[in-house]
Structure formats: structure tokens, C-alpha cells
């Protein structure tokens, strides 16, 4: 039977049931009845609850972290800084497959230098989130503040404070490209306009906050991670290397997610730190962020500053653009 004749046969015998029809979503009943399983709905027996100690400075060295008072809070299992976490979690390497992009290699939990308000510095594990937050408040951090970098254009000027030593000019990707004969288009234009555009960063603010539940089984070496994330396969790959594990030993579950809008497509420090803690202590660890953490410490879509020259014909046709585009990647 040729392809054409089988298609004809299908058109005659099978009326359109879905294409062009209004179809009820198959998943709605569990959302409507409250049975959908979001990350905070995951309960693992024996789980410890995590609360982060976060930087209150935009740019600072950390001289010392005193955890003694925190450890005395009843219900606290432990307080962990870079010293403990880096014994199980190696550095994270971030880059893009372009020669112009600088590679950044960094400790995931950095207890020595902070580059944004909200950066995780230490983690408390306790019998409940309530107790973990009590203890997090008792952690004493001695900061040595540095000049903050708040403006992207100022950050690109010579002499600006340097956020990362491997990026001395604060520019991690300088990419230039050209298409077509730009100079000719500008010569032949009827009008040339120049304008600076500035778009502030956006916050996705999904209603469901981020969360990670990690269960490392010391006996089998298997790790199960539940996370409110949009990219479970990629995150498993990104976590495996630093944790020194094969991907096949990691199961990353993104069950129901309460909105992401791109924000949850990023691999956050917490996505690595929580599984690392589970591996370190040999117990399940649960972390659900609160709205303060989400608004302060979570990634935003990037701020852009654009200087644009536009060559235009008298009838309004755009002929060419020439510009400088600054994308703010954040700390």
C-alpha cells in the first residue's frame, strides 16, 4: 500500500477528534482536587529540613562564620559551610559553547566571598524548617564589605570593582558579529536615528516557590532528587560531575511544577547544595524556599542596555542596525 492511499483511507474512515477541537486537559482533575504533587508535597521519612544563611551584603569578603550558638538550638542536626560541603561537592564549571565566552569555575557554596544579597553562605539542618530558621538567625557572620557593583555600564569601566578574578573586566562574553554591508546601508539611508534603550530585569515570580528534596542512600549510592524545575535531565547532568556520581545513579524527579516561566530552567546553587548535604549526612534533606528568598536570591531575566543606530528609508523601511548591546548576567 502506498503512503498516499493509506492517507486517503485514514481521511475517509477517521473523523477529526482532536485537531481543531476544544479538548479537555487530561491533567486537570488532579489540580482541581488538590491531589497534584508539588515539591513541598513530597515527604520522605526521616528528612532533615534546611534553612540557608544568606548574605546581607551585595559584595563582601567573609572574615569568619561562627556557628556555635546555632548548634545549641534544640532540634538542630548541624550547620554546614563551604568547608564541609566541598568535601562532597566539587566546583561547578559554567560556560557556553562559544569561543568568546569565558569559563567560570567556582565553588557552589562560597563561604569566603559574596557577590549578591541573598547568596547562600551556610546551611542549617534541623528537625523542622521552623527550628532551622531559628538556628540560621543565630549564625554570626563577620563581613568585610567591598564596594558594590550596581550599574552594568559602570561595571564595564576600567577601575570598576572586580567581582570574579577570572573576569578582570566584569565582561564574561564579548561577542561581535556583522551581517550585510552596514556602512553602505547607513550611507544610503534617508534618516539615521540613535537611541539608548534600557530594559530592567524581570522576576518570573511563579506562585510555587522553588524547592529541592534529596534522598541519598549511602548503602546503594543512589540519589533521588525531587525539584520544582523545568529541566530535570540537564540538571541531573550538571549535578553528577560535581557530586562525583554517574548520571545513572541519579534520579531527578520534576513532578508537578507550580509555574516556572524560565526561572526554573536554571540550575541553582541550592539544586547542588541540597543533594550534596544529603550525601554528606546520609539522610534525606528537604528545602523549600520562602517568598523572601525567591524575590532576593533567585535569578531574574536579564537587564539589557542597548545603544542603537538605525538607518531608515524615507518610507519607514529599516535598512540597517548598528549597536552595542549589554546583557547583564548578574553576580
Amino acid at each position: 500500500m502506498t503512503q498516499q492511499s493509506s492517507a486517503d483511507q485514514n481521511n475517509r474512515s477517521r473523523p477529526a477528534k482532536y485537531v481543531g477541537s476544544k479538548v479537555l486537559r487530561a491533567e486537570d482533575p488532579r489540580y482541581l482536587t488538590g491531589r497534584a504533587k508539588y515539591t513541598d508535597d513530597v515527604d520522605v521519612p526521616g528528612a532533615l529540613h534546611a534553612a540557608f544563611v544568606r548574605s546581607t551584603h551585595p559584595h563582601a569578603f567573609i572574615r569568619s562564620i561562627n556557628t556555635s550558638r546555632a548548634l545549641e538550638v534544640e532540634g538542630v542536626f548541624g550547620v554546614y559551610t563551604q568547608t564541609e560541603v566541598e568535601t562532597v561537592l566539587d566546583q561547578l564549571v559554567t560556560t557556553l559553547p562559544r569561543p568568546e565566552v569565558k569559563t567560570v569555575t567556582r565553588q557552589v557554596l562560597d563561604s569566603h566571598k559574596v557577590t549578591y544579597v541573598g547568596q547562600p553562605i551556610a546551611v542549617v539542618l534541623a528537625t523542622s524548617r521552623y527550628v532551622a530558621e531559628d538556628a540560621a538567625e543565630e549564625v554570626e557572620v563577620d563581613y568585610d564589605p567591598l564596594p558594590p557593583v550596581l550599574d552594568a555600564e559602570a561595571a564595564l569601566q576600567p577601575g570598576a570593582p572586580v567581582l570574579r578574578p577570572e573576569i578582570p573586566d566584569n565582561n564574561f562574553a564579548h561577542i561581535e558579529f556583522q551581517r550585510g554591508d552596514i556602512d553602505k546601508a547607513f550611507r544610503e539611508a534617508d534618516h539615521v536615528f540613535s537611541k539608548r534603550f534600557h530594559q530592567g530585569c524581570y522576576h518570573a515570580a511563579p506562585l510555587e516557590l522553588r524547592g529541592v528534596v534529596a534522598d541519598y542512600d549511602p548503602a546503594s549510592g543512589d540519589l533521588t532528587v525531587w525539584s520544582s524545575s523545568q529541566n530535570p535531565h540537564l540538571f541531573r547532568s550538571l549535578l553528577a560531575g560535581p557530586l562525583g556520581m554517574q548520571e545513572s545513579k541519579i534520579r531527578w524527579i520534576a513532578d508537578n511544577v507550580g509555574g516556572g516561566f524560565g526561572m526554573k530552567a536554571h540550575f541553582f546553587d541550592e539544586d547542588a547544595i541540597i543533594p550534596a548535604l544529603s550525601k554528606l549526612v546520609g539522610r534525606p534533606v528537604k528545602w523549600i524556599e520562602d517568598r523572601y528568598e525567591n524575590l532576593v536570591a533567585c535569578e531574574r531575566s536579564k537587564e539589557t542596555i542597548i545603544y542603537l543606530d538605525m538607518a531608515v528609508r524615507a518610507d519607514g523601511t529599516f535598512l540597517a542596525f548598528r549597536g552595542r548591546y549589554i546583557g547583564v548576567g548578574g553576580a
Partner: protein, 171 residues
């Protein structure tokens, strides 16, 4: 060290909290500072009520307490002692959806579902108070519930449809 207690604090400060939840008498231990939302979710074990802000601003935690809609994230469990609570789990009858839930489904009044239980509780309360609301009535009444996915158009359509359904059911 610390004994391996799961999830819920049980300390000398804990009080007994007794509630009637969705028609069933339940009780559990709660420290005075435990939020009612956390009590419902982690002590009673009903996960349909969600926490989105812990500030009383998003409405995801909306439940009915003695008939009135309240934000369970800014109440303490001990404040609710003795109360009648209704959560989203009270709407459906097994696999049979409540007419309001059917309307939300048919009019695409949800996407990720996180705000949905709170909206359903508020919708039920609205339609009891005002069985024939205008669209403006609906938007005003539900203005305390944030949805980040739908843009509310499907939500309003769902509520108007539910109003029709419920008023024709009662004839």
C-alpha cells in the same frame, strides 16, 4: 543529639489543636507559632492547600473557616482550635468533580494548578453570597487570589459558567 522526629515539631510548647476538617474530627499537636496552613498540610496531611507567600498576599492558602474564607498562612493553628474547616478536598465527591471544578476545567481556568485550590474556595464562597455575579463582581471578589499563569480570563469565564450551572441545578 536529636531524636529522629519527622517534619513536625513536637515540643513542650505544643498544644492540642482539635478541628473538624471536611466533616471529619481531627486533632494534632502544634506549637503556638505553627501556621494553620502548615498544620493542615503537614499534621493533618491535606496537601491541596498551598503556600505561596506566607504573607497573606497571594491567596493560594485560602480555606473556609466556620464558613468564611480566610488565609491560612497568616493564622496560627491554635487560633483555629474548635473550628470547622473546609479545604479544596471537600469539593469533589470521589471521582465526581463539583460543578465549580467542572467549570474551571471546561473554561480552562487553570494551567499549573498552584493557585487553583485557593480560587476554588473563594469561588464557592462568592457564589454562595452572590449566585448571579457580574464579571466585575467576580474580578473584585477574586482580587485577593493571584494567578501567575492564566491572566484570569479563563478564571472569570469559569466562575460565570459555574454560576449558570449552579443556578440551573437549584431550579
Amino acid at each position: 543529639m536529636n531524636d529522629r522526629v519527622n517534619t513536625v515539631e513536637a515540643s513542650a510548647e505544643a498544644r492540642l489543636v482539635q478541628l473538624r476538617v471536611n466533616g471529619e474530627d481531627v486533632q494534632g499537636a502544634a506549637e503556638p507559632r505553627m501556621l494553620l496552613a502548615d498544620f493542615i498540610r503537614h499534621v493533618i496531611g491535606l496537601k491541596g492547600t498551598h503556600v505561596g507567600c506566607e504573607q497573606g498576599s497571594c491567596g493560594a492558602c485560602t480555606i473556609r473557616l466556620n464558613g468564611k474564607i480566610v488565609r491560612s498562612c497568616i493564622m496560627f493553628a491554635v487560633q483555629a482550635n474548635g473550628a470547622e474547616i473546609e479545604t479544596v478536598e471537600n469539593l469533589a465527591n470521589g471521582a465526581e468533580l463539583h460543578p465549580i471544578q467542572e467549570s474551571y476545567r471546561e473554561k480552562h481556568g487553570l494551567q499549573c494548578g498552584f493557585c487553583t485550590p485557593g480560587l476554588l474556595m473563594a469561588t464557592q464562597s462568592l457564589l454562595e453570597e452572590n449566585p448571579k455575579p457580574s464579571e466585575q463582581d467576580v474580578r473584585e471578589y477574586l482580587s485577593g487570589n493571584i494567578c501567575r499563569c492564566t491572566g484570569y480570563v479563563g478564571v472569570v469565564a469559569a466562575v460565570m459558567d459555574a454560576a449558570d450551572k449552579l443556578s440551573s441545578n437549584s431550579r
